[in-house]
């Protein structure tokens, strides 16, 4: 996925802040993004115990408006978009006709005929083209809103308090969004995230991003990079497109049947229904190593299967990951053998989430 050296990498409005903070900046999906500042583990722990702030301005936005906006999205997205209330958010996958997953997306209904969909950076252009292609003939307008927004994720048990302290009104509850003024800047505040913690995601004008970032950091939100974002989401068993989700597999295999409403007739719904009825040939499961070592994407699972995500859990201090395995191997407690670069490591299919504050302390 690394771009050719000649390709110009994009920078978010916060790039200068990352460099000033001595972050390690890497190419990611066409962007120069911070992988860590102080260190992945320190940032990870900050989000689990207090509050962290992530620059996720590389994520894309697509705005869909018009009388048939809902009808278009109902056709594109796997979830029941018509049932989405104004102010609410909904997770869904974007499928090809054969059910292969093109992206996983969060959509906010801002008004009855106005929706904002957040895309993965690496998929944004493809998603946009897909939206535009299927909008033809409908009374709906699809607009690329990538350049209209910077996006900050403030996550952790103390995140809401930090954001509330600069907000003009109470923050929207979990899974909902609302327009607020943060430190004088108009923003869309959403009770969503990708860490398994409470918190909000904030969409604002690019010109306001630095001021917001500074206000949040001044209130002790710890700057966090993509490294901690990955370890946090993996402990929470949230799938990552490009690792755990791809065009080669469908949502049922990935355990995302809960966000698929085949009765809505979305593109790919027939393929998804067929897999749901017949049962998938493989399932995405969380796993924990029972011995030292760290599973990594591409590691084979004995008996058929492959690891799609893996890391050392900063909270559990053991190797964790997600893997596609045959359904017979997918029950919690099933022992697995993983080939970690030639060494066989024992693992066990674990409960979701891999880390839970209540369970694991």
């Amino acid at each position: 996925m690394a771009p050719a050296p000649s390709e110009t990498l994009k920078r978010t409005p916060l790039y200068a802040r990352h460099v000033e903070a001595a972050a390690r900046v890497i190419p990611f999906a066409g962007w120069e993004m911070p992988v860590h500042y102080a260190g992945i583990r320190e940032e990870h722990v900050a989000v689990r115990t207090s509050a962290g702030v992530f620059d996720v301005s590389h994520m894309g936005q697509i705005e869909t408006t018009g009388p048939q906006a809902a009808a278009l999205l109902q056709r594109l997205l796997s979830n029941d978009v018509e049932a989405l209330a104004v102010g609410a958010s909904q997770y869904a996958v974007l499928c090809r006709e054969d059910g292969g997953v093109l992206d996983d997306l969060l959509t906010y209904r801002l008004a009855p005929d106005r929706f904002l969909t957040v895309t993965n950076a690496a998929n944004h252009e493809r998603d946009l083209a897909w939206f535009l292609r299927h909008a033809a003939g409908l009374d709906a307008e699809v607009a690329d809103a990538l350049d209209a927004y910077a996006m900050l994720a403030v996550q952790g048990p103390g995140a809401r308090e930090v954001v509330q302290s600069i907000a003009d009104a109470p923050l929207p509850p979990r899974h909902t969004s609302a327009k607020r003024t943060l430190a004088g800047a108009p923003a869309l505040v959403c009770g969503t995230g990708y860490t398994g913690e409470d918190g909000v995601e904030v969409l604002c004008a690019p010109a306001d991003a630095v001021r917001l970032w500074d206000e949040l950091v001044r209130r002790r939100a710890v700057p966090c990079g993509l490294g901690a974002r990955d370890t946090l989401r993996l402990e929470a068993c949230l799938p990552l497109y490009g690792n755990d989700l791809s065009e080669d597999r469908g949502p049922i295999e990935a355990g995302l049947g809960w966000c698929c409403r085949e009765e809505t007739g979305f593109i790919g719904s027939e393929a998804v229904r067929a897999v749901r009825e017949a049962g998938p040939s493989e399932r995405l499961v969380p796993l924990r190593l029972t011995e030292p070592g760290i599973p990594r994407p591409g590691n084979a699972v004995a008996g058929g299967g492959v690891v799609t995500s893996g890391t050392l859990s900063p909270c559990l201090q053991v190797g964790i990951g997600m893997a596609y395995v045959p359904p017979a191997e997918a029950q919690v407690g099933t022992k697995l053998q993983i080939d970690v670069r030639g060494k066989t490591r024992g693992a066990v299919v674990a409960q979701r989430p891999l880390y839970s504050k209540e369970r694991d302390g």
Binding site: R41, I294, T311, L312, P314, G319, R341, K343
Partner: protein, 128 residues
């Protein structure tokens, strides 16, 4: 992690290993530059005592949260000791790369190989 340092009493391999020579026994580790590039080391998978290592070939792996990296042998020989403390505290590779972060001790099979190693100044100059 402290600032960059490349002690004068060590020899260096271009693949970012250091060597401390004591008679025909050499201690290997990774340089400040290598640990900084890796980020926080969370796992060291040592080779077995008694196994042989070959100059310029990988002999072990160190893992950060994000990635796995091969460690290349700066010289050839037989592993006589591995730093078992790193099993509990691999972060020593970051905090003290030339001290408690040492990886293995090797009985050299061809001491003449060390002529190809770099001194601290030459190695440090190669990084810029």
């Amino acid at each position: 992690m402290a600032d960059a340092s490349y002690p004068d009493d060590l020899r260096y391999h271009p693949e970012h290993d250091w060597v401390r020579l004591e008679g025909d026994i050499a201690t290997f580790g990774i340089t400040w530059f290598a640990q900084d590039a890796l980020g926080e080391v969370v796992f060291f998978d040592p080779p077995e005592v008694g196994s042989t290592v070959t100059k310029d070939q990988p002999y072990a792996e160190v893992e950060s949260v994000k990635a796995v990296s091969d460690v290349v042998a700066p010289l050839s020989g037989e592993i006589v000791e591995v730093n078992t403390e790193l099993g509990k505290a691999p972060e020593a590779i970051n905090t003290d790369p030339y001290g408690e972060g040492w990886l293995v001790k090797v009985r050299l099979s061809d001491p003449a190989e060390q002529d190809a190693l770099l001194d601290a100044e030459t190695y440090a100059a190669s990084l810029t």
